[in-house]
C-alpha cells in the first residue's frame, strides 16, 4: 500500500472563517499517484476544524453564525485563567469548542486516481481563533 502525506498551510485572515481547500486536496491526490484508496484531511490545531458542505457564501455565513450561537464567547468558561505553560490567559474556550463542533478531519474515497465526492461537496478548513497561519495534513492511502 502506498502512503503519501502532504503538510499544507493556510493564512487565515479573520477570527472565524471558512476556507475552501477542495482544490488543494485534489492536487495532493493527483500528486500521490494513488489510483484506488482513501484521502484523509486533518487539521493540526485545536481551535480549527475540517468540515464539508455546499460551497456557497450564504451557507458559510450560516455555519459561522450557528457556531457563534451554539458557543457564545461570553460564557463562564473554566479555561479563562492564566496558563503558565503558555505565558498567557486562556481566553479562547469558545474557539476550542467551536472547533470541536466542526470536527478535526474528513475522509473521501479515491477511484481511478480521482477524488470521489458529491458535486456540491466542498472541503473546508474552518478557522475559529484567527487570524493565524495554520497547518493541516492531507494523507493519501491506497494502491
Amino acid at each position: 500500500m502506498k502512503v503519501h502525506l502532504a503538510r499544507l498551510g493556510v493564512q487565515t485572515k479573520r477570527e472565524m472563517e471558512m476556507i475552501d481547500i477542495t482544490d488543494e486536496v485534489i492536487k495532493v491526490v493527483e500528486e500521490s499517484g494513488v489510483k484506488n484508496g482513501v484521502v484523509n484531511v486533518i487539521t493540526m490545531h485545536t481551535t480549527t476544524g475540517i468540515t464539508v458542505n455546499e460551497g456557497i457564501p450564504c451557507l458559510e455565513e450560516d455555519t459561522i453564525e450557528t457556531l457563534k450561537r451554539l458557543v457564545p464567547e461570553g460564557l463562564d468558561y473554566h479555561h479563562a485563567r492564566y496558563l503558565d505553560f503558555d505565558g498567557r490567559l486562556g481566553v479562547n474556550a469558545h474557539c476550542h469548542l467551536r472547533g470541536m463542533l466542526t470536527g478535526i478531519n474528513t475522509m473521501f474515497p479515491i477511484e481511478d486516481g480521482e477524488l470521489v465526492k458529491g458535486g456540491r461537496q466542498t472541503i473546508y478548513f474552518v478557522e475559529t481563533d484567527g487570524p493565524l497561519y495554520r497547518k493541516y495534513c492531507v494523507q493519501v492511502l491506497g494502491e
Partner: protein, 280 residues
C-alpha cells in the same frame, strides 16, 4: 488607533534568521505560542482597528545572557511593516555602555523610545545607578516604557516592579516621559495617584492577569478604581496597550471600549496621548 505595548516575539521572518530566538522566547520571555508570519501580526492589527503598534525588545544580557529581540531586529521589523510599527530600543541597564547603546539605537536605527523591565533586567527603578540612563533618554528626547506590576517572565520578582519606585525618577526628571506599563497592576490606585501628581507619567491599559479581557478590564478600571478617575482626571495620561501576543489586541480594544468613555477620552486613550508620549 495606536497600541503602545506589543512584543513582536513570534515573528517567523526574524526567527528563521536567529536560531536562538525560539529558545529565548520560550525560556526567557515565557511564551509558548508558535511563531507566525509577520502578516499575522498585521492582520491582528487590522482586525482590531489598530493603525500603529509600538514594538518592544528587552535586553537582558547581564541577567539572562540573551536579548528578547535586539535593537537591530526591531529596526528590521519597523522597515518590514511599512509604517505600521514604531520601534523602541532596549539596552542592558547594568552595562557601562547602556547610554551609548541607547544613543546609537536612536540615532542610527531610528528607534523612538526606551523599554526597560525591572523584572527580567533585575534592577530597581529608583536605583541612582540608572539615573545616567534616564538622563540620556531625556537628552535624546525619547520616552521610557517601564514594565510595572506583575511580570509573566519566569524567575522574576514583582516587588521591584512596584510603580511607587518610579516616584523619585518622575520627581527628579519632570520633563522625562515615562509610561507605567500594565497600569502597574495590581497597584492600580498607586498608579492613579502617581499620574495625578506627576504629569510626565503615563500608564497603559495592557493589564490582563485573570479571567477574560472583558471581565478583568472592568474589574481594574471600573472596580479597583472608578472609570471616572480616568474620564475626568487622567484622560491625558492613559494610553491603550494590549500586551500582544500574550493577548489578541482586538479583545483588549473591545474590553477598553466597553468601559464607556466619552468620545473625547477615547480619542486620547486610543491615540492622542500616545502621539504626545512618543513625540510624533
Amino acid at each position: 488607533m495606536i497600541d503602545v505595548h506589543t512584543h513582536p516575539v513570534l515573528v517567523e521572518e526574524i526567527m528563521e534568521k536567529d536560531d536562538q530566538m525560539l529558545r529565548v522566547v520560550r525560556e526567557v520571555f515565557g511564551l509558548g505560542n508558535r511563531a507566525q508570519p509577520l502578516e499575522t501580526f498585521l492582520l491582528h492589527m487590522e482586525d482590531a482597528g489598530i493603525d500603529v503598534s509600538v514594538i518592544h525588545p528587552i535586553d537582558c544580557t547581564s541577567t539572562r545572557g540573551d536579548k528578547i529581540y535586539s535593537n537591530e531586529q526591531i529596526a528590521e521589523l519597523v522597515d518590514m511593516a511599512g509604517g505600521k510599527f514604531i520601534g523602541f530600543a532596549s539596552v542592558d541597564p547594568h552595562s557601562d555602555r547602556a547610554g551609548e547603546d541607547l544613543e546609537g539605537a536612536v540615532r542610527d536605527l531610528g528607534l523612538k523610545g526606551l523599554k526597560l523591565a525591572p523584572s527580567i533586567q533585575e534592577f530597581s527603578p529608583d536605583d541612582e545607578k540608572l539615573f545616567p540612563l534616564y538622563e540620556r533618554a531625556l537628552d535624546l528626547g525619547i520616552p521610557i516604557m517601564m514594565h510595572s506590576g506583575v511580570s509573566f517572565e519566569p524567575n522574576t520578582r514583582i516587588r521591584q516592579c512596584h510603580p511607587m519606585l518610579l516616584e523619585p525618577v518622575a520627581a527628579k526628571y519632570p520633563d522625562l516621559r515615562i509610561c507605567i506599563a500594565h497600569f502597574g497592576w495590581p497597584w492600580v490606585e498607586e498608579t492613579a495617584a502617581l499620574l495625578l501628581k506627576y504629569p510626565n507619567l503615563y500608564a497603559d491599559t495592557s493589564c490582563l492577569y485573570f479571567d477574560t479581557p472583558q471581565e478583568f478590564i472592568q474589574f481594574t478600571f471600573n472596580g479597583q478604581i472608578p472609570t471616572t478617575w480616568i474620564e475626568r482626571s487622567l484622560r491625558n495620561q492613559v494610553m491603550f496597550g494590549s500586551n500582544f501576543p500574550r493577548i489578541e489586541m482586538g479583545k483588549m480594544v473591545q474590553a477598553v471600549m466597553d468601559l464607556g468613555f466619552t468620545e473625547g477620552a477615547k480619542s486620547l486613550i486610543f491615540g492622542g496621548n500616545a502621539e504626545r508620549f512618543i513625540g510624533i
